[in-house]
Symmetry: C3
Subunit: 677 residues, 3 copies
């Protein structure tokens, strides 16, 4: 089971005709035609519509919606409708609503509101999925199943407490093992009966919110349990779908770097990944690239679907800026460049009421096709038509891996000490940014991924080391590769217990250093770091965290310039086998991070064609037929002129480029060069 | 029923002799005499005193207080005592305490603590009001009834939930209509039984507090319901009062621009309006003027009472600055200038204990009459004596209306998108400030007000359009008037559903524009706007919100100067009938707003005598006998010299002024000129 | 009963071998030997270990721990183990967990988690203490009992409500007296049955957190009750200990300036004081000195134990900076200089897991002795060995007293008005800083302390005046002493009721002023104050609070320079008997405070030897044998050269100094000069 079968990159998005009289549907489809929209996502929130009461199912309206879309020739991504439960269910069975972190029992409201452990919710959501699948499995227009919607949050009710205890029994077997893992001798926490265990919340282990916990081990396990509990909901529905639909691919829409859910724990269970891209601002090109790569990495490089993006504004933020002209197109092509095999919007027609009425839509409240947004959507539709199947199933030929680890994210950010100001994402983003600026094709992978195919592995803030990861990282270096890691790596095992050895724990041999102590300071404190020497010497700034390094064989590459530890190492390089281990001990600024990353990459031929042209992104995909597609994306509001790095045809214009010939990308311009074979 | 009958502007305020031994009362009255205090408000918080237990009423102390005040010749504004319920009531009937937005059931404490839907509270508060009125209705000193105190807040208990459902049944009749109004197809929210409906709170539709809701329609209706539920409490008591007091006027003290209560829904039910003026700082002269006008507008221009102000400091703020010398007098006269027919303080004698012990009082803890505050109070008392009945019942001859609409306030601020930074009050304040600077006599009125008497109608951020308002605004312009509105106007109908037409919805014809899209940005982003042309051209700044305008007949008055929409309209003027519709599409700074407002006013002869003298406020009142009182208020800490705009007598000094003669107002000085007839 | 008997300053700290296999214990003791660690605190959190179930006690592991420590020759500070209750107890008896300020019933988690009013908790904690004491009372190595741990927080459950009512009955006797004390006539709060009284919380009298209350009197009494309720827990255990251990001293570890607990109410019940010193940053030398003096003042100047400090970093802060090299030593000696007769760390070996795994420890996760931290610890151990018994039992010969009053702290900060920005600690710190800079040996004492031995009494922000304190302050001045107090002093009586007289109330005669009114402003508003005259004249800044002073005999020392009260007094000096009363009416900056304090001190010979050498701290202790120890502490990161103020021997080096000879203190250097007799 893999990606949905489509003839080209599907284009369209969420569509809620149930909110409108049927005469509007007709206008919709005419506008869809003019924008070349060929896929609609239907039914994400239709539980109350399809099941208006317990035991009563009414598919009449959904039938008409599906029939109409099919008749119009559009593909359908069909949702099971469990993104929100209906009011009657919450009233009849209060257990289906969640209890929040503060211990407050919720009543009916909002969405994503179901307790994942509720037997009633599980029974009825499964039954709904079963019936939807049974009814539409044989509709040819349906190309994929969409389960739930943006799984997330957490519940702390007694049903979840019971679920947590069962999950713990399965994980630990005995209370002795659990007590050891959680280090409960500390603060007299020894559990002598499973029933004594409570979800870690504002009522128990936490203060100042979800990141401040007395027992990191308990909180970490509850994060894992919560992720698994929602995964069980997904699997419940998927299993029910499979009863009548043995072969259509199943997905759910992810949210990129979303902390509460460990998507790596989920990935194997999805037929294909999909995600919703709502960047916080105009300046997030690198961040989006990282997230696309993360989503692609979930399924070992298999393309994913861009399930949602806004064609214009968002509504949920305090300030909702407009996507400037051209950005929606540019970012859509960025998604394709990084592995998206679908480009979909939320939403096709704007709601009249409720909280998303001001969220951007392909069709606005006035129903016009002469808006700027509609014109840009239609132009993109035409371009995707022109592209045709060229990119479908294409893979990224990455030789650089960036490790991304939810466990390290959680462990680092729920830790007491050394610094609440060090945020996992920020560290990862800085190292990714350096790679992105260099035009490196890279995979963002789990710590369990096979690393044998990579020349370079970058592992920022790899706080937790699990299983044989240290050995696999050593193997990368041993065979000539480079491994880069940073401060706050190699600190704890999978139970968040400190390694009883020098920091960075099992990475010490590879890195050739030991960390004697570490200093944390507020953002106003800078320690200058001098990198390199001679002509290459550069002075950068370090902030927030400063580890004091005692080399154990490593070569010093950068040194602190201030404080009592001035002159001691801040960056080191260690020869290990045929390769190298690099350690960055301080919170370097972006210039410092980029300098180090370029040094690491220098031994490997992995730079993109324009490593010194800021804001000109490049990305390569290799199609199943072996053809290479080179995507060039100009993120500047001004044109860029470069020379073509290779000969090929721009699939968007049909223009040919010759190696070394001038290539001009207008502001926010895109080139998709199929390289000559 | 109308204003209390008084021989002059009543002067005095809240008085709590029940907190003191009777020998203190004697000192109080001697000090009242020396300050010419002739009215006391009594009994606002005396429920526990008068009804010490269920079924037990004891008026003995209140009798002595009333008798003493009457004997001393002072008028009495007598409260029903329901501003706070007693401890025994909360203990005996837990239902009377509120459940807060977070879902927490309150226990006894604070004040304004009663659930408005509690049958027990309603029964016992009414009984108290009935008995108070019965006992004192024939006391000649009593001139008015004061019901409750500063109604506000909200309750989310199950009794309120039931009340809300009954209110909804009355409003919508059927669940189908309710589902349509609330747009419940969205997020599977369809209600199939009235009992499924929950108050919108932190447990249901809200996150991040009262302004973030998944369903604006539900939250909006709960705001309306809450306002109505407390109005019912007021009406309960008023009805009980009327049983024995058929003719004494009844009021309750409002709080100006207080968001939780829609005073326009209440206004018809009060015999006269009154309010408590606690400006946040020294810089709020215009804001106070606006609020006085709003309060006067509640009863179609009938004078109101200034029920409370502090003679010195407040206590409830984080920082409680002193009113500088002269300000209390100046602001008291400002109230009179805008329609106040009473000038009252909270409080006459300072409490020794509890949370208001540091709140300013006419008589402080040491009981002195030689404090600065007491001296200023006594001087004002003498001035009001000198004024006599001259201003009683006088009206403001306004030809400009500023629309103020609680529904638009609520809808705008509970909306997801486009910007949480745009605050209704701030927009209204900016447009009011421009009018105030121009010395315009204006009414602040509800959107249901009769607009036929106005030359100019200013409607900032008129987010919601209800009923025939668009037609009435068009009528203003049709007959030669001017209508000004701004960005974020004309967006939603009374159910907060977007109009299915171009923005600004039903105002589009009047304004001659359509808004294609809009951009929101943080406060650090400025788009310069060029207004006017030729010699009149001026460059100002716009922030926060930028609507992109496509003129549909309107003339462009101002254009954006930056970003991709540079050169497109930011301000437009549209000819409509004999008049004009003005549209301001961006968040202009005060200079820009003032420039536009002066342009709008230019066609109408409505400016005050000193439109170019900043901080010199003017206001006119026309007494029932036709005499015109011109109030001049110098808000500067320095003197101002101008020429008299008219001939007349300064009622405070007896000095005559001749048109064109020099008029000198000292720092914070006041002139009340009775114009020669 | 007094301090534990030791042969020298005990050195060591918290030790949790129960977290480790026994083979680690052996390494620990070898390392302890090399660092000259001679005291371990054991069993602070061992309830679950010692009592694994109700009725089951198992001392086997604790026996081995104690035996091992004793066999190694180390003293033991033995805890009763009630710092946290075990999970089985919370599950079996939910009453033992607390209900928080928000009204949320806690479940098992964290530590310091027991309801102080729970009969079950009281019964079982006492039984545990009884058994621990019975078992180990005759172990010679045990030198002191450590009850609980860092008592704090508060509980708002129904058991506490009942306890509060009982406490109130005891305090007030009748409801009439309670109603009078709480001023309940205000806002109809009269209580007619004890059962109507609720703990003041977010559900009752509070909004915006614990500092905003409608009834200061209620909140104040709940703070007192909470402090007493936890004191009762301490006394419960102490009494149980005394059954088998009649003579070993008992303590609990305090937290310095910790607002929730009034340590002065506790002090008489401890045999000796001890506290945990975790300064927030590197800049808190004066603050630590103040806190040491406060702790020493608890027991009338008797030395205390420094029970905890970190040898390196903390973990609980957002940012946890490293103690720079030398600071741990310097601050340890500062503790000794101010009266510490023990220097102990938390912790001797770092935990592997849970929330303190990154808290600094003498022995880190790698178990090394060649870390910087271990080396510095070992060097300090050697120095303390060298010092021997010289400082044991020594007293500070203070002639200056600084008053510190929890009631004033509470009353000031829970007050509505005049300013939430004035914080008690900040005011106290500023005045202390001035004294500390001057090198004054001072006592920090309760307002009930005997003041007859002091020449100068400094009482900043003495908001509440209780008992005969005004008379005792007058007596200080009458006999020639000086009394200094500030704005916001003399405002309320012990029930937080304003004095019915001029501010500063009963201090008015001593100060010779009356305060007519006061102004509060934000931190951006400065009023310059001119101090002194002629050559001594200096201009400083005042902020936040400005009282307007009318002298009643006092001489004006400083005047405001701006605003309408420019030229009026800001600082005054009043002759009273043979002495003086000083009043500072405004929030002077540190320069202003220091200027005033130096003026006050000028009449008294109390300055230290280096009043004009910033960062060079001096402190004197007089040993029981009459020898004077002069501690000199260089808080600079650079050396300081001065001349010796006296002849003597440096006990750390054996070097002799002669009066007037050069004395060089290296960066962070320490000299302990035993003055020649």
């Amino acid at each position: 089971m893999s990606l949905p079968v489509t003839a080209k990159v599907p284009f369209g998005g969420d569509y809620n005709p149930e909110q409108w009289p049927e005469d509007v549907w007709k206008q919709d489809h005419r506008l869809f035609d003019s924008a070349r929209i060929d896929l609609v996502t239907i039914g994400v929130f239709d539980w109350a519509l399809v099941q208006p009461a317990e035991g009563v199912y009414d598919f009449s309206l959904l039938d008409r919606i599906v029939e109409r879309a099919a008749a119009e020739g559009r593909g359908i991504c069909l949702a099971t409708g469990t993104g929100a439960h209906p009011a009657w269910l919450a009233k009849a069975y209060p257990e289906v609503t969640r209890t929040d972190f503060e211990g407050r029992k919720r009543r009916f409201g909002q969405r994503h509101n179901s307790c994942p452990s509720s037997p009633v919710f599980r029974r009825l959501s499964v039954e709904l999925a079963r019936r939807v699948a049974r009814r539409y499995a044989d509709t040819p227009a349906v190309v994929a199943w969409h389960v739930g919607n943006e799984y997330g949050g957490a519940c702390y009710c007694d049903l979840c407490a019971a679920g947590f205890r069962a999950w713990l029994r399965h994980r630990y077997g005995t209370l002795d093992d659990l007590n050891a893992a959680w280090y409960t001798t500390f603060w007299s926490h020894t559990f002598t009966d499973w029933e004594q265990i409570e979800p870690p919340s504002a009522l128990t282990e936490h203060w100042r919110g979800p990141d401040h916990t007395a027992f990191q081990g308990i909180t970490l396990d509850y994060l894992r349990f919560s992720s698994d509990a929602m995964l069980a909901n997904f699997l419940d529905e998927k299993t029910a779908i499979r009863e009548s639909s043995p072969s259509l691919p199943v997905t759910t829409n992810f949210m990129g770097m979303y902390r509460p859910i460990d998507y790596h724990r989920w990935a194997a269970h999805l037929d294909f990944a999909s995600w919703d891209n709502y960047p916080p601002d105009d300046e997030s090109a690198a961040r989006m690239a990282l997230t696309h790569d993360l989503m692609r990495g979930l399924k070992d490089g298999q393309p994913f679907w861009l399930m949602e993006q806004s064609p214009g504004v968002t509504a949920c933020r305090d300030v909702n800026p407009l996507k400037r002209p051209g950005l929606m197109r540019l970012w859509s092509w960025q998604a394709v460049a990084h592995g998206a095999d679908a480009v979909l919007f939320f939403q096709l027609r704007a709601s009249r009421g409720a909280s998303e009425k001001y969220h951007g839509a392909v069709i606005g409240h006035a129903g016009r096709s002469d808006t700027r947004v509609f014109r840009e959507v239609a132009e993109l539709g035409a371009e995707l038509d022109r592209l045709g199947p060229a990119s479908l199933g294409a893979r990224t030929p990455a030789r650089v891996a960036l490790l991304f680890d939810w466990d390290s994210w959680w462990a680092l950010e729920i830790s007491d000490g050394p610094s609440r100001l060090v945020r996992y994402q920020q560290v990862v983003l800085a190292y990714h940014r350096a790679l992105w600026d260099a035009g490196v094709d890279l995979d963002v992978v789990a710590v369990t991924a096979d690393l044998s195919g990579y020349d370079v592995v970058v592992a920022p803030a790899l706080h937790m080391l699990k299983g044989d990861l240290p050995q696999r990282l050593e193997a990368v270096a041993a065979r000539g590769g480079s491994v880069l890691t940073t401060y706050l790596s190699g600190r704890v095992d999978e139970n968040d217990q400190a390694f009883l050895m020098d920091v960075p724990g099992p990475l010490g041999q590879l890195m050739g250093v030991r960390i004697d102590e570490w200093d944390a300071r507020g953002p106003e404190v800078v320690n200058p770091v001098r990198l390199g020497g001679g002509a290459d010497q550069v002075d950068v700034e370090a902030r927030l965290l400063f580890e004091l390094v005692i080399p154990q064989g490593a070569q010093v590459v950068g040194t602190y310039q201030a404080d009592f530890y001035a002159g001691t190492p801040a960056v080191t390089r260690n020869s290990f086998g045929a390769g190298e281990g690099w350690y960055v001990a301080a919170g370097l600024d972006q210039a410092g991070v980029s300098w180090v990353v370029r040094q690491v990459l220098a031994r490997h031929d992995v730079l993109g064609p324009y490593p010194d042209t800021p804001d000109l992104e490049s990305a390569v995909r290799v199609a199943p037929d072996g053809s290479r597609l080179l995507f060039l994306l100009n993120h500047r509001a001004e044109p860029i002129e470069v020379t073509a790095p290779t000969s090929g045809v721009d699939l968007l214009t049909g223009d040919r480029a010759l190696t070394g010939s001038a290539l001009r990308l207008p502001a926010y311009g895109v080139v998709v060069l199929r390289e000559d074979g």
